[in-house]
């Protein structure tokens, strides 16, 4: 159990205690014994009530613990998701620097994560496939990175939080010489800087 989920568990327990307090107010714990009623029967009833209360209490703790655990898992998943969103590559068509719809969707998600986490900056690196000249490909990679930056600043990300560079065709993601390899290589890659620990969730 990490520190965060421990905090969540403690929070859950303290809210349970508060609920208990409320319940006690609406349901008086010490029922006055009517005159002439069998004292033993009264004792059995009180015992049963106490057992029922204990069971409710145990059930509540279990439920709260389960909820806290679900939250922690969900939070871990959210962290992973946001990390993946930030790292997700954007792909381009041959000799093009225009964003495709799939790329725009990826950048929409990234922009939301950046806006929820103002300390993060991104370095965008443009890449190309091996066709064409090395020098032109460096320029083309730079244009792809610039397209990505332009789109994200258009989504409200501050201009100084996205920097651009190009490696042209010098670092292919796939070494193959066919179209599927070329498609893997025509991409923008993202390096996250300034992320210290936990990312703040985006508002859905």
């Amino acid at each position: 159990m990490n520190a965060r989920s421990l905090v969540l568990t403690l929070l859950a327990c303290s809210s349970f205690a508060a609920l208990e307090g409320c319940r006690r107010k609406v349901t008086p714990a010490a029922t006055p014994v009517p005159a002439g009623v069998d004292a033993a029967a009264a004792q059995r009833r009180a015992d049963a009530q106490a057992a029922e209360a204990a069971q409710r209490r145990a059930d509540s703790i279990a439920a709260a613990n389960a909820a806290a655990s679900r939250d922690a898992a969900g939070d871990r998943q959210a962290q992973l998701d946001m990390g993946n969103i930030l790292a997700q590559r954007v792909y381009f068509d041959y000799d093009r620097d225009q964003l495709r719809d799939d790329g725009a969707a990826v950048l929409d998600a990234k922009s939301a994560v950046l806006q929820a986490n103002p300390s993060i900056t991104l370095v965008v690196t443009g890449h190309t496939d091996e066709r064409g000249t090395a020098e032109y490909n460096l320029a083309l990679g730079q244009r792809r990175a610039a397209t990505v930056k332009r789109y994200m600043t258009g989504k409200g990300v501050a201009e100084n939080r996205v920097s651009t560079q190009s490696l042209g065709d010098s670092q292919p993601a796939s070494s193959g010489g066919d179209e599927s390899a070329y498609q893997q290589n025509r991409r923008a890659e993202f390096e996250v800087r300034g992320a210290s620990g936990i990312l703040v969730r985006t508002r859905d």
């Binding site: 064409g132 090395a134 020098e135 032109y136 920097s163 651009t164 560079q165 190009s166």
Partner: protein, 427 residues
């Protein structure tokens, strides 16, 4: 038919000193008057020399003359080899029978090399020169001295100085490499890591290159340390020296296209030259007089070759505009005689090398085998080094733009971005 030029040669000889240092023996201003005709290459026999060192000198000179593509080196079989060089004088009748216009003999001496050129038609000695050369144990310096002799010899025979004493810079495996123009002496250059393209200073001792990581333009003496003359965010690529060597012109861009800039070679403030308005403008190459720059621009929607004045004005499309997005022309290199710009153009999905005439805009296709990139002219404005995948991997090849004769220069791990040096002095 070669008599006139040998007569001139003999006349020149009268003024030639008997012992000269290799680098300054050129008879300046003397031209044989032989205009090159692709169909006519004077036949030359390189006479054998009996020592082992003599053998290797003869082999180097023969190869140099052969690779120059202006002279036919007549091969000798073993018996002709024995018969052709009699003690005392050449075997004139055998030389004439072999079709030689001249015979050449290079003999190692204690201080260097002794060159004798014989005119077969007149049966006379046409040229005698002595060259100082370092000991053969200093392989690179010694080979360079032999190349220097070959290049002068070619000038004497054809009127055009040879190019065997030159080197080619290129990239391989994230390093810069050098190779002699005859394929010897291949070695990595210290200092340059993750290099892009490189280019030579006119002094032949200094180069400029870009690196990807960090993104910068570097000026470096060969064998020395590099100094950064431009760097920052975005790309810094395709640097070249101005023909006077005073400045470096390169391409830089970050978020709004890539444009050409000029910076003093010693460092200083950069000045923007091209106005690409968001397009890519890379790969500058100067006209030899330094007045115009050929470059590649994507301003028309696809890469084409343009020229502009050195200050960025008077932009002109050099290659005939192909309508349609499949056109892709790049990597211009201006020949040292100013007549042609070599470039690559996509034809049927592969890149081929072409030249375009500055005066008449006439196109000539030089290659058709494999995909061919990044041409760089030799200082004779006739040969080009380029990258081709015709052997299966990207290797350097040299082609004679006149005859189309091609040879493979590198083997081994794949290479890119060659740059042919100017004519070099002593190493």
């Amino acid at each position: 038919m070669h008599l006139p030029f040998f007569r001139v040669l003999a006349a020149v000889l009268v003024a030639a000193p008997s012992l000269v240092v290799a680098q300054d023996t050129t008879s300046r201003g003397v031209r044989i008057g032989l205009t090159y005709d692709p169909g006519t290459k004077p036949g030359v026999v390189v006479l054998p020399v009996s020592t082992a060192l003599g053998d290797s000198v003869a082999a180097i000179v023969s190869r140099d003359l052969d690779l120059g593509d202006r002279i036919t080196v007549i091969p000798l079989d073993a018996s002709a080899s024995r018969a052709v060089a009699r003690a005392g004088a050449p075997n004139w009748s055998l030389l004439a029978q072999l079709g030689a216009a001249a015979a050449i003999q290079v003999t190692p001496t204690p201080s260097g090399l002794h060159l004798a050129v014989y005119n077969v038609a007149t049966r006379q000695t046409a040229l005698i020169r002595d060259y100082v050369a370092p000991p053969a144990s200093s392989v690179r310096a010694w080979r360079s001295a032999v190349h220097g002799l070959s290049d002068e010899l070619e000038q004497s025979l054809t009127g055009t100085r040879g190019i065997s004493r030159t080197r080619v810079l290129f990239t391989r495996g994230g390093r810069l490499w050098l190779i002699d123009s005859d394929g010897h002496g291949e070695s990595p250059l210290a200092g340059a890591v993750t290099p892009g393209s490189a280019a030579w200073h006119p002094n032949g001792r200094t180069i400029t290159y870009s690196t990807y990581v960090p993104s910068q333009i570097v000026v470096q003496d060969i064998g020395g340390r590099g100094r950064t003359v431009a760097s920052g965010r975005g790309v810094f690529i395709s640097p070249v020296f101005t023909p006077d060597g005073a400045s470096v012109v390169y391409a830089h861009g970050e978020d709004d296209g890539v444009d050409l800039y000029s910076v003093p070679a010693s460092g200083g403030a950069a000045r923007r030259l091209s106005v690409g308005r968001g397009s890519d403008n890379v790969s500058p190459s100067f006209s030899p007089d330094g007045r115009r720059i050929a470059f590649m621009s994507g301003r028309a929607g696809h890469p084409e070759i343009y020229t502009m004045d050195a200050d960025g004005t008077n932009v002109d499309l050099l290659t005939p505009l192909d309508v349609g997005e499949s056109a892709y022309r790049a990597s211009p290199d201006w020949s040292s005689d100013g007549r042609l710009v070599a470039f690559q153009s996509r034809i049927d999905g592969q890149f081929q090398l072409l030249t375009v005439g500055l005066r008449d805009r006439a196109l000539k296709q030089l290659t058709s085998d494999g995909s061919n990139d990044d041409p760089s002219w030799a200082p004779d404005a006739r040969h080009l080094v380029f990258v081709s995948n015709r052997s299966g991997t990207r290797q350097l090849w040299v082609i004679d733009a006149e005859s189309g004769r091609a040879r493979q220069l590198t083997r081994g791990a794949s290479v890119r971005l060659p740059s042919w040096s100017p004519r070099l002095g002593e190493p």
